[in-house]
Symmetry: C3
Subunit: 212 residues, 3 copies
Amino acid sequence: MDTFTFILEIIGTIAFASSGAMIAIEKKMDIFGVNILGATTAVGGGMMRDIILGVTPPAAFSKPVYVLFSVLTATLLFTIVYTNPSILDSGFKSKYYDTIMLLCDTLGLGIFTVVGIQAAANVMNKDNAFFFVFVGVLTGVGGGVVRDIMAGETPYILVREIYACASIAGGAACVICRNSVGEAAGAIIGLIVTVVIRLLASYFHWNLWRIR
Amino acid sequence: MDTFTFILEIIGTIAFASSGAMIAIEKKMDIFGVNILGATTAVGGGMMRDIILGVTPPAAFSKPVYVLFSVLTATLLFTIVYTNPSILDSGFKSKYYDTIMLLCDTLGLGIFTVVGIQAAANVMNKDNAFFFVFVGVLTGVGGGVVRDIMAGETPYILVREIYACASIAGGAACVICRNSVGEAAGAIIGLIVTVVIRLLASYFHWNLWRIR
Amino acid sequence: MDTFTFILEIIGTIAFASSGAMIAIEKKMDIFGVNILGATTAVGGGMMRDIILGVTPPAAFSKPVYVLFSVLTATLLFTIVYTNPSILDSGFKSKYYDTIMLLCDTLGLGIFTVVGIQAAANVMNKDNAFFFVFVGVLTGVGGGVVRDIMAGETPYILVREIYACASIAGGAACVICRNSVGEAAGAIIGLIVTVVIRLLASYFHWNLWRIR
């Protein structure tokens, strides 16, 4: 289970580091700003989770691997755009930027939601569905909230259709299934539910009630 | 005492959830954004307090009741405005919105200040007036600061006349009185002092020194 | 060593409180807003550090001295500008404001970086260079990030040339040297490295790679 969780975490770290780095590149920050925003996004949710759970120092601090992967990801993205600056004005960007950003952010959201639930279950033995889902959602959305606040944007979670909603549904699916089908299968189910709901919502422009 | 504190907390949760939800409604967020901003405002200060005090996981996570009341409050407010959208443009709003917002925010500020002091006293036995007041003020202002930062506003605490000031005065009154008149009476006194100072300041437009 | 660290902390507190207070004065906040932003900047990084390290309640809460020095500093600055409001429009300001702000912020950055490393070493016995430097950098940049987010600015750390960079270099120098030359000398070396790199970068307008 630990290896499985670790692999998920690294994929989630790369996905969130990409989303943070891309926003920083968009805003014309320098290579350091790009790395900082990438790392903050990637480890922000997990740090909040560990602090909430009383796990100090948080894993992001005690194990360099998460920051390392963030830095590699952000530096690679920066290098690609730096050596091909025309990419920012090209049709490529207008066509694919939003899609790639959505995929990275959604993958990170789904992965960190189920990883957060696993971490909560490791700390608290007795079953508490509300607690598990809440910690999962915080882990999933935390990095993006920090990214958006630091970048001066309104947090995704407040304005994107079906964002926290997808994380809550995936987290609930994970908590419900993990007792019957096992932790790993439950995590996969929760991840798929989160990602599918968010992508469907984005594709079909599902909207929640909103006041006009 | 615990029941008394709990009742205060629920009233404060409803008041702060209302203030967060109303700002989100103002900003035309969808029903989920309204719920998220309401819940963040309602539990934000208490979460910070518990983390500062080393109480992990924070009460907002281990007990669903606070988030539940936030969600009920925010959903009710959203439903009222959704079914009567004209309310946002009517004279009603221009006349009463600011007043209701002020009352909710002030009530939450006062309640969470004294509740924070109670929580600090539960954790640390020896009397430390500075520590108690500081934790109380953080609990009182924390939710509003998170709300304003997430909504992209300058935090109330930095720009509203007599805001943290009222919380500090109420917190000090509570700490001074609770030894002589008892915890519950001390809490009521601290609450009244905070609310009265803030409302008087707002009504009479008291201003602190400001550079022109 | 404790006395030495304490003296550094007080100087850093005054420097960061000044930088927070000056931004608040610039934004025409009242005396309370100036004090709040000053105190938040001064104790923000240390609070984050203590929470990360699991030291609860954080020193800023249990010992009033840091907040006291913040309040004295912010009130003094406010009084100077309040009694000489022309200072804000004069040539003095346009000439010296940025320089004083840079010096205060740089001094605070350097001091809190090495103080953070000392605090991390007190908590964790085994040598972990990554962990020490990370905690140091978080302590160094934390107060400024909170200040900028509360004031509605893009955090310095994301946009100023060679900011976190200077803190990382100074932190690494401190961690490398403290084993051979002792903790105090290591702290001084780390502080000097941070300050010199940041000031040189500012003076010569060093820029990191940035996408045009």
